[in-house]
């Protein structure tokens, strides 16, 4: 069963969001990394990019497939995980840790209320 930490928010596209005040750290879930298989390449947006909720902001490539990364919130990209260009496998090993993808400064802090909590995301996985 996929690991779904209780302190994070989730999207239906299998991203997670860790809300830290006005900034949200974004990654893909354990379920997503398992489905993708071995991640070998990650394309992330530039720091400073303005993104809207639901935008395709990057791509994650596994040996077999290409998947889009969708922004869970709207705001400005303030940090990206450059380490992933050297070790994309971090996404498989620690999807909630070293495998984080980017940080977004929220343009509308209320938007996080629209994300799924762990219970709702677990329910979504059950029905997947």
């Amino acid at each position: 069963m996929a690991n779904v930490p209780g302190d994070l928010k989730y999207t239906e596209d299998h991203e997670w969001a860790r809300v830290q005040g006005k900034v949200v750290v974004v990654g893909v879930t354990d379920h997503a990394q398992t489905s993708l298989g071995d991640v070998v390449y990650v394309e992330l947006p530039k720091v400073g990019a303005k993104v809207s909720k639901g935008d395709a902001v990057g791509t994650i490539e596994s040996v077999k497939a290409v998947s889009e990364l969708f922004s869970p919130v709207s705001g400005t990209v303030v940090k990206v995980n450059d380490e992933l260009s050297e070790s994309p496998e971090d996404i498989n090993m620690e999807p909630y840790g070293d495998g984080w993808l980017l940080e977004i400064e929220l343009s509308d802090p209320k938007q996080v209320d629209g994300l799924l909590d762990a219970a709702a995301y677990t329910e979504l996985l059950k029905n997947a």
């Binding site: 298989g37 071995d38 070998v40 390449y41 394309e43 791509t59 490539e61 596994s62 040996v63 077999k64 290409v66 260009s85 498989n92």
Partner: protein, 360 residues
């Protein structure tokens, strides 16, 4: 409803992730593509390739009949040898790529791609002049045992001396007590065997290989690793690198086309193409920028589309983004450069010598 091989339940028990592959419910991976890929490069991996088809020609004139259908020449090899060959149409493009096994001049077995089984059989029936082909696909299961430890593993399960079976040769014998064709062939670039056995015995053979292979570090492997391994060798995949739009010569497979043998379908077109010179060629390339080339991406020169990527991946053993694709002949030489359109980004690439992977 997807078709299943006799090993379907065994894959599920082993926790394989199953996918639809050309209408077959097949394992794409077990432990992970990179792990399985490395297991085949360093130890030994098992692949269920029972979805492949088998067509048999038996009786006087079998060799001549098959030789009229395939591009390679069965008359040049001995009994107990196999050849890789094209089934070509009149234009010299591929109906399929196959392996033909010569048991004797009166018994030839042809292994065809799963996705082309029905098409190939119908085509062979329509074009065979002499012996009538028989579709044996449902009688056989096939397990590929691939990797540097494959020979010692198979040897411990058979009385047949496998050291006497050279590359692209085969013998009939028993493996784990199961009557098998033991063929020293494969699609990974490693030493290994493809074992053909009666479909009803597939599970017993699979289990025996897994159990006996524990000491070798054997692992079941899926189609994902099979694809990354063959891409590193630049082995063609039907539907990607070869098809009915590109000739055998354009695909760089001139070595499986024997233009000096008696007539076969496609010969005239290829003789003419060879005389006129090739306009495009299948090449191997590496990206020198960031990204991974994928099947269907455009190849660009000075911004204009000049070709197409047919296969691509990040090669786990070469640790590079590698690709295969058709380019105009003037861009086919080693060192030539072009760009690959990766979702709107022009990423530079250079033509390199293949295979991409060379054994250390």
């Amino acid at each position: 409803m997807a078709r299943q091989t006799p090993l379907n339940e065994a894959h599920r028990k082993l926790g394989a992730r199953m996918v639809d592959f050309a209408g077959w419910d097949m394992p794409v991976q077990y432990s992970g593509i990179i792990d399985e890929h490395e297991t085949v490069r360093t130890a030994v991996g098992l692949f269920d390739v029972s979805h492949m088809g088998e067509v048999e020609f038996t009786g006087p004139g079998a060799l001549e009949t098959v030789n009229g259908l395939i591009s390679n020449d069965l008359a040049r090899i001995a009994d107990g040898q196999a050849v890789y060959a094209g089934l070509l149409d009149e234009r010299g493009t591929f109906v399929d790529d196959v392996v033909a096994y010569r048991f004797s001049p009166e018994r030839i077995l042809i292994c065809v791609n799963s996705s082309n089984r029905e098409k190939d059989f119908a085509w062979m029936k329509a074009h065979a002049q002499g012996v009538t082909p028989v579709d044996r696909s449902d009688d056989f299961a096939q397990i590929a045992v691939q990797g540097p430890k494959a020979a010692s593993l198979v040897q411990r399960l058979t009385k047949t001396d496998v050291s006497k079976i050279g590359t692209y040769r085969f013998a009939e014998g028993e493996v784990a007590g199961i009557p098998s064709i033991i063929s020293r062939t494969g699609y990974t670039g490693e030493d290994g065997f493809e074992l053909y056995c009666p479909a009803k015995d597939a599970v017993a053979l699979w289990d025996a290989l897994l159990t006996e292979g524990q000491q070798d570090g054997v692992k079941p492997c899926g189609l994902g690793a099979r694809d990354s391994l063959r891409t590193e060798m630049k082995y063609a995949l039907y539907g990607n690198d070869i098809d009915d739009q590109h000739t055998a010569l354009e695909a760089g497979l001139g070595w499986i086309v024997k233009l000096d043998k008696a007539a076969f379908i496609g010969k005239e077109a290829l003789v003419a193409q060879k005389a006129a010179g090739l306009k495009r060629k299948l090449v191997g390339f590496e990206l020198t920028g960031n990204g991974i080339p994928r099947h269907g991406y455009a190849i660009l020169k000075d911004g204009a589309r000049v070709g197409e990527v047919t296969s691509g991946t990040k090669g786990p053993s070469v640790n590079k983004a590698i690709g295969i694709g058709y380019v105009p002949a003037e861009l086919a030489a080693e060192g030539s450069t072009f760009d690959v359109d990766i979702r709107g980004r022009a990423v530079p690439a250079v033509v390199v010598k293949t295979p991409f992977y060379k054994k250390p």
